[in-house]
């Protein structure tokens, strides 16, 4: 069972450090995960512990993260809309971690809304442990997020411009 962590094109060292803490690694291993892969973006080079209870690797960027996202049993993502919506599209079991160190972080809006609708969990680096436990105890699957309505915009444009 694999865990994949993505920070998109940004940096989110606090999340990466938290992921690599003894506390989180032990919990993941106890929960049955065997591999941890980190996409660290523009962040600093992660300090991977030499004696970890699961196998760990990391990289900065890839042209497409789809394979790693789809292959993971657990996706832990920063709160960027692109990453969140990609996770929703792939129906990933997902914890969204909001970077509460950022000022005026409007991205919490989307994460919180999707969490309240039961599509994912939303937390901050300090709440990650609690969310990992909550996720394990969850009885139901996350509700799939419906895809965007591709017909809505052309329909709206045609009618507004009198082309319908």
């Amino acid at each position: 069972m694999a865990v994949f962590v993505t920070v998109g094109t940004t940096q989110f060292d606090l999340l990466i450090q938290k992921m690599l803490s003894e506390e989180v690694l032990d919990l993941l291993s106890k929960q049955g995960y065997t591999t941890l892969r980190l996409q660290v973006g523009r962040g600093s080079e992660p300090l991977v512990p030499t004696k970890a209870p699961l196998s760990i690797d990391w990289y900065r960027f890839k042209p497409s993260l789809e394979e790693d996202m789809a292959g993971a049993s657990l996706l832990i993502s920063h709160a960027g809309a692109g990453s969140i919506l990609e996770g929703m599209r792939l129906r990933s079991r997902m914890i969204v971690v909001v970077n509460d160190a950022l000022m005026d972080n409007h991205q919490t809006e989307l994460a919180d809304e999707l969490a309240s609708l039961g599509h994912c969990l939303s937390t901050t680096p300090s709440g990650l442990i609690v969310s990992l436990r909550d996720l394990q105890e969850r009885e139901s699957e996350f509700a799939p997020f419906p895809p965007a309505d591709k017909e809505a915009f052309p329909r709206f444009l045609d009618s507004h411009l009198g082309l319908a």
Partner: protein, 221 residues
Amino acid sequence: MMAVALAALALLATLWLARISAVLRLRGAARPAGSPPIRTMVVLGSGGHTSEMLSLVGSIDRAKYAPLLYVLARSDSTSLHRVEAAERARARPAEGSQSAAGGPCEVLRVPRSREVAQSYLTSVFTTLYALSTSFAILLRTRPSLLICNGPGTCIPICLAAFALRLLGIKYVTIIYVESVCRVRSLSMSGKIMIHLADKFLVQWPQLASRFPKSTYVGRVC
């Protein structure tokens, strides 16, 4: 003499105010933009804005909306590559691909009004420069429809389009689409554009109920 000049100036100012308020009041009424194909300008705002815009543009009928005039910041080479890739994919759809047919398009580059970390004082001048470039581009290309979704890059273009309308040169219909990540509040450019756009689309119903001037037709991208 002085009094006549002052009265003339006052009259002129009143007329302009009346014109501006009339144009603002006329916004949003459905109006035919002429017969298709409709010259359509699309502003690519970089990053996630570009992703959402390319997804929107990917859904429109290119026989009705043509040519497509893409506007992007000179410094935004990533959006340039992405728009080229999207247009190539539409021009030569892979076998069995569901993607719609492409159509004529053109890429126009504009200066950014403000780069990240630029000082506010110099940004006054760069904004004026961006405004005049935008105005020149609109005068030359004369789109009937302008679609944008923020961030700041679209503001000078929209102001220039609005000026074109005020001057009676061309009615450019402005459609603004707020990002899907805006659930409870408007973005900075959204707060400006809700007053300028003919139609201001939001992608969450609760945002539409908070802002009566906005329109919700579903999650569009």
